[in-house]
Symmetry: C2
């Protein structure tokens, strides 16, 4: 895909300057590195990763990039010492020389490429900024990746059952979060910022939740597998006390989610799925962001899940066409400041003619007492 | 500091487009947000944070930025719908209009600013790329931040003692890591990629370590407090079997570390501290990176620690002048492919005339049997 893009754009190299905190960089190199490194891939398939001296041998063993060079190999320290350049400047010159040695004339850089390096390269090359091709490549998962996300999805269900059991005795949101996250960690996964939001402040979709859990509670968890780095995302709203308005909101979200799940298949637009959800919620009399409302359904219908919790595609206005192998969330929610919020979310994998729910759990959950 | 910079550069605004995964963005806004948001601060102290509609109310309550706007408030959706722009393009135009409304002519952006937005702003404003001022501000910690790092430092010691106890019965690196990290999590902290590296592969400084622990082992842990987000960094090399060469390497690192600690105070250069370490190691006959060696001491002497494990300042060639309140690591190591690696690391806080070690633990550690 990168090579096709290079040939199409008549460019010789696509480059990134990033660390493995950037999932596109990690996906391309499969190398865990805490500091930024330089990666280039050519229209003829040549690949080079430039790391510090201390990382060179490890990169040769662990990364999937064929050729590895260290900054010392490329004369970085001479620039720093003899030419008295600053670190960033010496770095930029090292990469410029490297690219010239490889006869680069036109270069593609991703949208998130750091501006200082873009500016330094500008006088030397014809540069085109493109959406990172790895973002699109990552959106479609292979069977191994799907299995990894399926595993994390199972952890979501375990964590939710654990939460429901705790909820019978414990009603402090912070203590509940602490307990659930410790449980998830003991299974080999890590969950942080798990939403356990109750009361009217649950009308802020990303409110973490503190203090007493009462009436109803949004439980939203998105753990990462510590070994593989893959995520899954799952939300249920638990009814604690009977409340017609809240239960109506939940019912509408359940109907919206299930109608959306029926439409999701290869070839459907992310915006279409979003509109399906809006249609259902509006038909129940709730307001949505597409009507410019500031309450009701005020976020997107979903997003891709993988090495990041939020990645491509977007199920929203301007969203991409969905393809077989994509893993996405569907998460209608309703938020009213005087009433609170509710949300229901599943992670699903797209097939040719349907989608498969990876986070199978009943939609309507009432706390058994 | 930002305002001084703006006035000095005759610019009206400094802007960032980032998420709270970027510690500079989090430090400026004190707002946890998983998606990218737009932050601008003016030479007159005006501050504005632009978030999606769903985050607006939470930003008003939780962030320290005075003024909050949503993308809908600023007409983003009209651009997306009526003018049929792409998401990125509509976003860029929204920010350009916003900056023009605020009479911006010259703008400062940080080095890591995304290139797509830099390119979009370029025709409309005079733009200067600067090192992110928040990186320097973050390097000097206030007393509250120091206390937070002191707390995490205590966890390092607990984790190491726990590891030493386990090591008497368990010798598998992955199982040891799993157990230590679960213990750290149960205390309210999170440690990932803890280095438990044994054998000749420990000569790669960032080799994680797998398989049987024998002869000697590098234990390097850098947990984050889940509540505060602050880190601390700590390494000891444990001698399991007697080995003169390894023990000589450890002794040299201990001497280098302790000599460096004596030089660290307000006003000393990060490069000077690094040279002190190189001097000591070279005096014992070991080679260093400053001699262009590819084995021996092949990394920097240390780095700042705070919201990131690795942040400013660098204790390395071209490193910054150290100041009171900075928290840095001092971590000499020696790495020989045929022999393995050793490393000793403390996290310390700088005072006017000295530094205080936050990770107090004896330097030479032998496994008691």
């Amino acid at each position: 895909m990168i090579q096709e893009k290079l040939i199409e754009r008549e460019a010789q190299f696509f480059i990134m300057y990033s660390s493995s905190n950037d999932p596109n960089f990690y996906y391309a190199t499969r190398f865990r590195i805490p500091e930024k490194a330089f990666y280039m891939v050519g229209d003829d398939g040549t690949e080079l990763l430039v790391v510090s001296e201390m990382e060179k041998k490890r990169a040769q063993k662990e990364s999937k990039v064929r050729e590895i060079a260290s900054l010392s190999d490329l004369g970085f320290y001479e620039k720093l010492r003899n030419e008295k350049k600053g670190v960033k400047e010496a770095m930029a010159e090292t990469f410029i020389e490297l690219l010239k040695t490889h006869h680069a004339r036109k270069i593609l850089i991703p949208e998130e490429f750091p501006s200082f390096l873009y500016q330094a390269l500008m006088p030397h090359f014809d540069i085109e900024i493109i959406e990172n091709p790895y973002s699109s490549m990552r959106a479609v998962k292979n069977s191994k990746e799907i299995e990894r996300i399926r595993e994390v999805s199972g952890i979501n269900i375990k964590a939710f059952n654990h939460f429901l059991k705790l909820l019978k005795k414990e009603r402090d949101a912070d203590r509940l979060r602490e307990n659930v996250e410790a449980y998830v960690f003991s299974l080999g996964y890590v969950a942080e910022n798990t939403i356990i939001a109750s009361g009217t402040r649950s009308s802020d979709p990303h409110y973490l939740g503190h203090g007493k859990v009462e009436q109803h509670v949004i439980f939203d968890i998105f753990p990462k597998c510590r070994k593989t780095g893959y995520h899954s995302d799952f939300t249920r709203t638990v009814v604690i006390d009977e409340d017609e308005e809240i239960e109506d909101m939940i019912s509408a979200c359940i109907e919206a989610k299930n109608k959306a799940l029926k439409t999701i298949r290869d070839g459907v637009g992310g915006d279409e799925v979003h509109n399906t959800v809006c249609d259902v919620l509006e038909s129940f009399g709730y307001s949505t962001l597409r009507q410019n409302s500031k309450e009701g359904f005020i976020h997107s219908t979903g997003h891709g899940v993988g090495l990041e919790v939020h990645e491509k595609p977007r199920l929203h206005e301007g969203g991409e066409v969905l393809k077989s192998g994509m893993v996405v969330t569907v998460e209608p929610g309703l938020y009213y400041p005087d009433k609170g919020g509710v949300r229901i979310e599943d992670t699903v994998v797209l097939k040719k003619h349907e989608c498969e729910v990876l986070t199978k759990y009943k939609d309507y959950v009432r706390l058994e007492t």
